[in-house]
Symmetry: C2
Subunit: 216 residues, 2 copies
């Protein structure tokens, strides 16, 4: 009542925008809640009923915003990827040696992995999606792997990283980073920035120098 009174004489075009914005916000709320539950309990243990209940609506209401449960899953992954990609692009824009760029990639990747959307990249399973969506996810995962390998190769080429196999190096680094999604808890002892800083150095500490790694 107070709300309608405040808007009583407002332009009649504004509410239309508001309604659209409200719709987007609701869609996002559905996605956020679903993702939180997916991460907590695992996709298959979360029911559409539970997602709805937690949002104080009933199940069919959700289908105003997503066509299916799988559609939400796919959206979650894609949103996570978009956010990560955004931060990577912003971070890698500036130049520097291959090693220093790799360090920045590791830092921002690690930080992102501590967020719910970052974790979605690791904790949601593309096998729960249909063929088309799964193919998209796999392509993006390959791209991400390519970024690591390219940066490592770049560092080897410019001499900032000792000669090493980009494929295995990328696997090792990406593995350590992705694992963050499994062990990180929001109430843990380190902030995302501290984790990022730690990993940025830790995961590249063995890459400096000129000589290749060999068994002694």
């Amino acid at each position: 009542m107070t709300r309608s009174a405040a808007n009583e004489n407002a332009s009649p075009w504004l509410p239309a925008e508001d309604r659209e914005k409200a719709r987007d916000q609701k869609m996002e709320a559905v996605q956020d809640m679903a993702l939180t539950l997916f991460i907590e309990q695992g996709y298959h243990h979360v029911t559409m009923n539970e997602v709805a209940e937690r949002l104080n609506v009933t199940k069919p209401a959700l289908y105003n915003y997503f066509r299916s449960k799988e559609d939400i899953l796919y959206s979650c992954w894609m949103s996570g990827h978009e956010r990560l990609q955004q931060r990577i692009s912003a971070e890698l824009g500036a130049g520097g040696s291959g090693l220093s760029r790799l360090r920045r990639l590791v830092r921002v990747y690690a930080e992102t992995m501590t967020t719910t959307y970052g974790k979605s990249l690791v904790l949601l399973d593309e096998r729960d999606m249909d063929d088309m969506n799964r193919r998209t996810i796999l392509a993006r995962k390959r791209d991400l792997d390519g970024v690591f390998r390219a940066l490592i190769a770049e560092g080897v080429a410019d001499g900032s990283i000792r000669p090493t196999d980009p494929r295995m190096t990328a696997f090792a680094i990406a593995g350590a980073l992705n694992w963050i999604g499994h062990w990180h808890r929001a109430d843990g002892p380190m902030t995302p920035e501290e984790i990022g800083e730690d990993f940025a150095l830790r995961l590249t500490a063995g890459l400096e120098g000129k000589a290749p790694i060999v068994s002694e």
Copy 2:
């Protein structure tokens, strides 16, 4: 026919043993087949019907060997853990510096991660199990983490590993190792031994020396 002829005059007590052995083999066959499918498709996409079909039996036959689908899942994880634990114990029996023992742990862990049972430790989800089994799994995972941390702390204490936080170091190393379960394919370019050797050096390359890692 040839088979029965060969055993015609054998002791009547032997078949009893044979039957027990046959039973164990069948139980193992069920577990192996289920695990293979779990790894390939994900637990929730594998039906008991499919497991049975692939073994040329019908679904109820499986329930002669396991009480439930979840029981198979738990058994798979535990078998994987047992095999890993076995190899770790055998490997860490001999002495050496903390660093060299950590290297041996990494090597044997990486090798194990390329096997179906090794992958089960990472690709099967304890959230699909009931409370009791889940608690057991989580306890064993904590133990495993403890082995890494203890070895790292040992190396720092004896001077073979530069001062570093055992917790984060263990997370980084275990992450890289566990990730093998996600990317490894049996038809890949490297043998398990080569992967083990590579990782043993790669994941410990940054740990040598005396000075702690600091941002330059």
